[in-house]
Every structure is written in C-alpha cells, then in structure tokens.
Amino acid sequence: MLKINGLISGYGSVQILNGANMKVDAQSIVALLGGNGTGKSTILKACSGLIRSWSGSISFNGEEIHNNPPHKIVEKGLVQVTQGKDVFPAMSVIENLRLGGFVLNSKKKLEDNLQKVFNYFPRLDERKNQLAATLSGGELQMLCIGRGLMSNPKMIMLDEPSAALAPQIVLDIFKNINRIRKDGLTVLVVEQNVRMALLLADYGYVIKDGVIKVEGDSKKLMYDDTVKDSYLGGGGTTANV
C-alpha cells in the first residue's frame, strides 16, 4: 500500500534520512521503531508532505505522492496522526473532529464519520461540547486519532500514540487501533514503547541513523538483540555491564 524507496530528507540543510526503504501492506499494522533522533518522525513527515523529500520515492496505492502538497495527500487517503498535544485547544471537541473531515464534501458523510468515531471512542461523545483544552491526556490522544479517522482514510500513520500516557490507557488505545485495522484500514505506528508496539503489529522496522537497520515479523523482532542494541545506543558495549 505504502512503498518508500531510498528516501533522503531532512530539515533545512541537515540530512536526517539516508535512504530509507519501507513497505506497508494493505490492512496490516506495521511498527516503525527507533530511539530518539533516528528519523522516525521524519519519515512520517515526508510521507504526509510536511517536509520535502530530497530524493527517493514514496508511492501510495501505486501513485507517486512525494512532494505533493499535504492536503492532496490527505485527500488521497493517507493521514498522519500526531501526538495528543497537537489539537486546537480553543475549539470544542466536535469542532476538532469536524476539522478532521475538512476534505469531505458532503454533510451526510461527515455525520456518518462522526458516529463512527464516537463508536470507537464513546468518551469523545460524552465530551463533544467541551473545549479540547479541558481534556485529559488519554482523551486528547483519542481525539487526535478520531480526527485522523474523520476524513475516511485508507491508511493512518500514528506518531507515538502511547507517549506520556498511563499503561491502562495505552492498552485501551492499542485495542482501538486493532479494531480500526479489523475494519479495513492500514496502520503504520511509530513507537518508543517497543514491547507494546511489537505485540500489536504484524511486521516491524527498526530505524537507526536514518536507514532501516532491521526488519522482520514482529514476533521475531521481539527476541532480536539488534533491536535492543539500537535502543540502548548500540555498539553492544552494554553487554558487559
């Protein structure tokens, strides 16, 4: 569904990605793992058009999408969901969700999608007239995911859905991600919480220094030492401690 080939990109003149290759199959959950500053979020930003890709290609559903304007990419059905802090705090929950469906043209579709999102996250229905600034951390994350689902996407990319949340809420959110996949969506999830992400995903990629170091079935990756190394700073020096 999503194919990334030799992607090179970065911010300003700083190169972050040094030719990353990835593939995400339809209706699967793929985890992209890596430590801080390895380029996980940069891949997502290049996919959703927030930053330019310098070379390489990104194709979605067989269409080349690299360096398309961001709203075109959303219209094609590829939506990035950022961390829970990125909502419009001065707007109500329902206005935030309506913004998620900004690319939809019919009112009926918007209402249908609203019902769908409330079905996934009943908490949002309870709080739909509250300002987003008054929500708790878990509710904000639900709002972000719900907003991503509003535009009828074919695939969503989640940027650290578990960041700074209590384990119970993380579990709840991950259950919902699994439900979203069962309903026919493709999910790419970027995570720091390796165990949870690999339990959820079918396939995993580990990124380090802007290139994919390891890939494989998530069950296999869970016991792979290189995964551990890339999180602990690599080099295998920690083995002696």
């Binding site: 959703s48 058009g49 927030l50 304007p69 961001p70 709203h71 959303v74 219209e75 939506v79 990035q80 969901v81 950022t82 990125d86 909502v87 419009f88 001065a90 707007m91 206005e95 309506r98 913004l99 998620g100 900004f102 690319v103 907003r147 535009s151």
Partner: protein, 345 residues
Amino acid sequence: MFKTFKFTRKVENTLMLLFTAIFLVYISLSPDMNIDSLKGVLIIGVTVGIIYGLVAVGISLIYTGLDVVNFSHGEFFMIGAFTGLTVYNFLVDGELIYAIFPEAYGVVGYVIGLFFAFVLMGLFGVLIERIFLRPLTKKGGGYTVAGMGIIICGFGLSVILQNVAYIIWNPTAHPFHADLGLPINIAGITLPMTYLWMLVTGFVVAGALYFFLNKTKMGLGVRAVAFSKDISNLVGINVPLYISIIFGIACALAGIAGTLVGPTYQVVVYMGYIILLKAFASAVVGGFGSLPGAIVGGFTVGLFETACSFFISGSHKDAYAFLLMVVVLLIKPTGFFGVQVKMKA
C-alpha cells in the same frame, strides 16, 4: 540587583479599574459635563470605535494567520475609501441609478460603493499577498530574520501603495458627497446619516465576520490555520490558499471601513497612516491577536479618545489613543483578551 517584579492578574485588574475610575472622575469634573454631551460622546465614540475595531480585526487576523504585523494595512483602508468614492461618483454621475431610483439614488450608490470596496479590496489583498508576501513568508515569518524582513517590507509596501494612489487620484483631498438623506434625531442628539451608516454597517460587518468564523466551514478552516499551520496541513486544509483568504478578508474589512469613514471626513492619500496607528493601539488594548479583543479594543480606544477630546482638550485628539495604549501596556501588557504573549515579530 533588581528583583524582577511581575503583576499578578488580580493586581493588573485592580490597577485597570483604578485607572478607569480616575479617568471617569476626571472627566465628570469637566465644565462641559452634562447628559446631552455624554450621550453624544457615547454615540460618536462607539461609531469611531467600530471603525477602529474593523481595521484592528484585520491586523489581528493577519498577525495570527501570517505571523507578521502588517504595517501597510492603513493603505488598504485608504485605497478602499478611494475605491468606494470612485464607484459612487461613477454611478451617481452616470445618471443610470438616478433613472431607476430617483428617491434613493444616494443610498443605492453608496451601498454598491461599499460592496465594491469590500470585494475589490479583498481581491487586491489576495493579489498583494501572492505577489509580495508569499515569497517572504515561505522563508519563515515570525521571530526570524525573514520575519523582520516582512515587517520592513510592510513599511515599503505602504509607501509604494501611497504613491500609486498619488498617481491615480492625485494628492488633493477629495470630498465624498454621499447623498444619504437628512440628519436624524436619536435620543435628543442630531446625528448625520453618515454616522448612522458607520454604526449600523460596522455592526453588521462585525456580526457577519463572527458568523463566518464560527458557523461556516471556511471560517473553521481560517481559525485552524490561524492557530497552527502544521496541524492544519495534517487535517487536509489547503494552507497556502487559506493564508490568502485570511489576508483577503483582512483587506476587505479595511476597505469597507475606509468607505464608511469617507463621507464623514475627506478621502486623502494620507488617511491610512493615522488609522493604522489607532487600529494598532486598539489591537494592543484588546489583546494582540484576539479578534473579540480587537473589536472591544476599538470601542475602548474610540470612547476614550472621544471623551478626552470632548471633555479635556480637542486639540490633542490623536495623542489620547496612544496614551491609552501606553497605560494598558504598562498595567496589563496582555491587553483585555490576550491569553499569552506569543514570540512573534
């Protein structure tokens, strides 16, 4: 060493109330004080205030949307006034309107003039944004070197637009003889119709803007882009288009304000300069970047200015707005509605 001293919100509000009380007592001791003059000051202050408010809303919109303070906004006001005047003169001289509406040709011509000032200034604003500001905002607005560049460009643009207006309409003052009917009597005050038009149209436009921003899809997009361009990108809003829309709306508001002011004063090439500074003061008083704040700030500045020039001295009329701005900045730096001071240029 100095200890950093910061007012709490409560102290700020108390000081503001104290300032208001002193001001009210001071003007009530004035020999001109009576109920009629007070009514007049109220009506004229609100009328002037809504005009300041409309221009200040534009400045605040551009500030939130483009991350820059637009110092050429007064020229859009001035060109808007000239547009309204030209359209009105063209229609009324052409006798076409007179043939169709012999009774109310002035009103019809003025309404069409207002409409054209609104639409043409909106389009002109979009054009200016696309040609002059887009290449600069691409490099980053706000608190960056490019952001400073945009501010200087705002001054430059202001000079250019003034000179263009110079060439087209020449530097003499143009009287705007809008034939809107006889002065009317409201609550014992005789008010020229031009003031009534300012008051009513100003409120209608402000109400329409409120409706647009809060009830329509495009308004929702405008608010989203004004808050964060990154999140707006992710939800599928065409951000460059919406930035143009924001600039266009702001210029259209300035244009209609210009045409509203035109008949009361005169239409001159230099009229944009002072209204820019007054609107700037209004935006600061109400809280920079806040739209309700801009309107409330407009009323505050308008009322304060009118009251001071009536009860204290009329010869320093233009100084009072800035006196109020300095007082508010000293006591309550965020203004009435400003939540936080953003790091923007």
